[in-house]
């Protein structure tokens, strides 16, 4: 009797069903798998629901509301402006390595005229969006999950409800808008600093003038690169904020749930980002 219920041990159900009848064990196993699949599906459904709700709500132009706009500006500041020094340092370091490596490699192959094409592809389409998305994920994605979770636990959502303030307007939309805007902006800054700064740090040791280098970059840039420069980081940032909000909302009452949801959220985001990277790589 003492063991009954202790760590989920119940002699009647455990011994009676699972051990003496194989069917009972498989039932339990199927139940566990089924429950996990349903829980996971519910999470994805909530993310999709959040996205559709937000997309619909944007048509009401809630950012024109003063209260919502203040949250939006604050989020842009935390997500975009405060991340700028880190993005610039990362861009300078990564850019100088890439520019130095690609310039020496391509000039050794006499592929001098393809320098711009390679650099634009590597920096603008691949490295820029990934590095900026990782910076946003580590700085702001984690902040969104923990902030929303703590607001829910301390019943601040109830305060907003009592004041008849729409959670979607006040909590979700400003964060979604800020992330979707800051993702491409940071990637643009990263690309510019990496390409120009990279040359200024190490590129000048190669046999190519700055004028020529800039000319090659500009000639290599086309409209689809600019579309990718906006679309890819925007989609990645959208994934970070939607999963972050969903994981924050999922927390119920205990503060001990916060780190668990934080880790789950980070893993889900990384899986989705790999998926998005593959999709963009294919198409």
């Amino acid at each position: 009797m003492i063991l009954e219920g202790f760590w989920g041990f119940n002699p009647r159900t455990t011994a009676g069903h699972s051990i003496s009848h194989g069917k009972g064990m498989s039932d339990t196993f199927v139940h566990i798998i089924g429950r996990r699949v349903l829980t996971r599906l519910a999470s994805w459904r909530l993310i999709l629901h959040l996205f559709l709700q937000a997309a619909g709500a944007f048509l009401r132009f809630p950012l024109l509301n003063h209260a919502v706009f203040r949250v939006f500006i604050r989020q842009v500041y935390f997500t975009g402006v405060q991340a700028l020094p880190l993005v610039c340092i990362a861009a300078l370091v990564i850019g100088s390595i890439l520019v130095n490596y690609l310039l020496s490699f391509l000039t050794s192959l006499n592929a001098y005229d393809r320098v711009g094409e390679f650099l634009v592809y590597v920096v603008v389409q691949e490295v820029g969006p990934i590095v900026c998305t990782l910076i946003i994920l580590l700085r702001s994605g984690t902040a969104v999950i923990s902030e929303v979770a703590l607001m829910k636990i301390s019943r601040e959502f109830d305060s907003l409800h009592f004041m008849d303030i729409n959670l979607l307007d006040y909590i979700h939309l400003p964060r979604i808008a800020a992330f979707v805007i800051c993702g491409p902006c940071l990637t643009f800054v990263f690309s510019a600093v990496a390409l120009v700064g990279g040359y200024l740090v190490l590129g000048f040791v190669h046999n190519i003038t700055f004028d020529n280098y800039v000319y090659q970059l500009i000639s290599a840039l086309n409209f689809s690169d600019l579309i990718l420069l906006i679309l890819k980081p925007a989609v990645m940032a959208l994934i970070i904020v939607l999963v972050g909000l969903q994981k924050g909302i999922e927390v119920r009452t205990s503060i001990t749930e916060v780190p668990i949801h934080l880790i789950q959220g980070m893993i889900n985001i990384v899986i989705l980002l790999i998926f998005v990277e593959l999709i963009f790589g294919i198409f």
Binding site: N65, H66, R70, M151, F162, M163
Partner: protein, 168 residues
């Protein structure tokens, strides 16, 4: 007893509940009032922790009336002076004293345009503090305060009308 019965009165109300927790039905009704009835409670409607006191106070004004923070501050300015909390306006809730938090809750109700405010089981000194603040603001806000039968005399002394919430 329904919420609209309570709204008929112009006086402060002491709502008699037989025990703590009986008031949940009333709180539920208040939550459905779309912000018309205010609530003062650390448990049910705390301040938002990532904004400071003045932003918490003016938030309902900014959201519902869609006015700027400066315009809201201008409107609320005399009340900040009346309650003497101007020095604490830019602090977050963790740096505020109890009286400043209570004054903030009351000002948030004023900014929401509430005529009636439910106060969640306050201590008697807090009731006196609210009455004093309302006097200083010259406000017509009506307090609804849950009470047990044993404390009724205290409320009657302060001019509260008594409503028995056992009658359904």
């Amino acid at each position: 007893m329904q919420v609209h019965d309570l709204l008929d009165s112009n006086a402060h109300l002491a709502l008699v509940f037989s025990y703590h927790g009986r008031e949940n039905l009333l709180i539920h009704s208040i939550s459905q009032s779309q912000g018309h009835i205010g609530i003062i409670s650390d448990r049910l409607a705390p301040f938002i922790s990532n904004i400071n006191l003045v932003e918490n106070i003016t938030l309902p004004m900014l959201y519902h009336k869609n006015i700027s923070q400066n315009a809201a501050l201008k409107r609320m300015s005399p009340l900040f002076d009346a309650l003497d909390i101007r020095d604490s306006l830019h602090e977050r809730k963790e740096h505020l004293g109890r009286k400043q938090i209570l004054a903030g809750y009351l000002l948030r109700a004023v900014a929401s345009g509430n005529r009636s405010v439910f106060v969640d089981w306050p201590r008697m000194w807090e009731v006196d503090f609210f009455l004093d603040c309302l006097g200083r603001m010259d406000s017509k806000i009506q307090l609804w305060i849950p009470s047990e039968k044993e404390s009724l005399r205290e409320f009657e002394k302060r001019g509260f009308e008594v409503r028995d919430m056992h009658q359904d």
